[in-house]
């Protein structure tokens, strides 16, 4: 019925999309059904719940989920809803618990979701099978390099298949860790805006805006240093905007990083830390591969619909309503890297991102101005044609354009149209 209302072939065209997709509540409901409750959604990283009993609570779409680790170190994605009358059984966003007890009538579930306690049991006779009252599970869950994804749909492509080209970028991000793992245990910044979630996804791979919208931050970066931001995000950059397929997209700064020897070596590092890190990397990867990894540096990309990798951080998009969204920023530590390096990664996250950061607030102001602008209906189109004439298909099936081009947005929307029209 909803899909009857919206024709996504009309609303999403190759070089433009309708503003309606950002404010129509019926579109949002349909997105819940066809994207958030069907696709693979990133929920958490295994390192957030390292110990048996550790848990975090998250949302898949609008549904509350507990991500718990049991005594056998297995991970479970459980709906946070008592099977008796539906109270939430877990109130905290993180903690350690071997059981979740519902406050209302005391039904108790272990961290596998099994119903292990029912007060006044005589009220239920033999026909009552406790197994039927285990906490509902997210139908499918899977991990890749410690990233836990869940899907509310029992069927569909597997996680790795769905990740496609994005998988090797996850590798690129994590291989920077001498121990081959990232650790998310440094808290999270939570940043909200009054606007549609898709703006945050598109913006994450929008290479056109940084020098303009973030001019103040750029001023601070360049001040008293000879960095030409035009050669990074501007006209004469060698970086690329890449459509990875499946709605995933990348800003590929590799060419620049190669020259600069890789983003992971910010200026002002102690030589010692650098030595330590290089040494650890070489021991793990060998000299050449280590140099390669370091030079290429961390990738900048997004995986449709809700996770973004930028600098040292995971960024997660959480829709709240058609025009309310929250973005979570998780700093990631490189296991096996010197503390100095990881502290730097931590600092970069809060200095640059979040509500009071040097960069993120600009984007959030832009999102809210965008949502305001959508009230003008005389012309409903958003134009996505930038660089259409100069992008090229790559061997991997990906499409590469100039860093400032909208190749990335077009990739996101092509996938969106496909899943929404389905």
């Amino acid at each position: 019925m909803l899909s009857g209302r919206n024709d996504y072939r009309e609303l999403v065209q190759d070089d433009r999309v309708s503003g309606r997709l950002y404010y129509d509540a019926a579109v949002f409901d349909e997105e819940l059904e066809k994207i958030w409750y069907r696709d693979w959604i990133y929920v958490a990283h295994e390192s957030e719940i390292p110990e048996p009993g550790d848990y975090v609570t998250r949302f898949i779409g609008l549904q509350p989920v507990i991500v718990s680790r049991d005594e056998d170190r297995n991970i479970h994605l459980l709906l946070n809803r008592c099977m008796h009358r539906g109270n939430t059984v877990c109130q905290s966003e993180r903690g350690n618990a071997h059981a979740f007890r519902c406050a209302y009538h005391g039904w108790t579930y272990n961290n596998r979701g099994a119903l292990v306690g029912v007060p006044y049991a005589a009220g239920y006779d033999g026909s009552f099978a406790r197994e039927e009252y285990a906490l509902a599970r997210v139908p499918r869950s899977a991990s890749y390099r410690g990233l836990i994804f869940g899907s509310m749909s029992a069927s569909g492509p597997g996680l790795e298949q769905r990740l496609g080209n994005a998988a090797r970028l996850i590798d690129q991000f994590i291989d920077l860790a001498p121990a081959g793992e990232v650790i998310l245990r440094s808290g999270v910044l939570k940043h909200s805006f009054r606007g549609n979630w898709k703006m945050a996804l598109e913006n994450s791979v929008d290479g056109y805006h940084p020098n303009i919208l973030h001019h103040a931050a750029m001023m601070l970066i360049t001040k008293g240093r000879k960095v030409d931001m035009e050669a990074v995000f501007g006209e004469h950059t060698d970086a690329l905007a890449r459509d990875l397929g499946g709605g995933s997209a990348q800003l590929d700064l590799t060419p620049i990083n190669r020259e600069r020897g890789g983003r992971v070596v910010p200026h002002g590092w102690s030589a010692m830390a650098w030595e330590q890190y290089l040494d650890a990397m070489q021991r793990r990867w060998g000299v050449d591969r280590a140099r390669e990894i370091i030079q290429v540096g961390g990738p900048h990309f997004c995986i449709f619909p809700n996770i973004i990798f930028i600098l040292n951080q995971f960024r997660v998009i959480q829709p709240v309503s058609v025009e309310e969204t929250v973005v979570y920023y998780y700093p990631t530590m490189l296991k096996g890297a010197p503390d100095e390096m990881n502290q730097r990664r931590l600092a970069e996250t809060y200095l640059i991102h979040g509500p009071a950061g040097r960069v993120a607030p600009d984007d959030f102001e832009a999102y809210e101005r965008n949502q305001e602008g959508f009230r003008a209906r005389a012309n409903e189109w958003l134009v996505l044609r930038r660089g259409l004439h100069r992008e090229r298909r790559e061997s991997a099936g990906t499409i590469a354009g100039h860093e400032t081009d909208e190749t990335t947005q077009r990739g996101i929307w092509r996938h969106y149209r496909e899943v929404m029209q389905a």
Partner: protein, 158 residues
Amino acid sequence: MSVERSAIERFLYREAHLMDNHRYADWFALWAEEGPLTYWVPCNGDDLDPKANVSIIYDTRTQLRNRVARLNETLWLRERAPRLSRVVSNVEIEDQNADEITASSNFVLVQLHRHVQHLWAGSSVHKLISAPSGLRIRSKKVVLINNDEPLPNLMFLI
């Protein structure tokens, strides 16, 4: 040295006035001219170690100077800056010794941005020194009631 609560109050009212009016430079001038500075707004709780956890704000002198510069330069803030009005109250001197005064206070800050009113509330702890030019801030910690909730832009001084 011994300072009256009323002197602290006057100082905090003055600071509030400068913050409410986006007088970034004058506010920065309230900080100690020498020695390390800390401007801390904890995240995910009131006291997580800022060396090991994200903060909403965790500035040393350089970063504080950068923050002021960033706010000064931002064009869109000039197009439309938030309107602010805060009451500072419950001022108490927690501790006072030869070279430092520790003062706590609570605030309620009403913000108007893009026609929407938003309420900020929490408490602050200032560590102050008494310079020839008057009291100066050595460190400031602001505990927001909602520091573990999603926050809108905090593009002003708090």
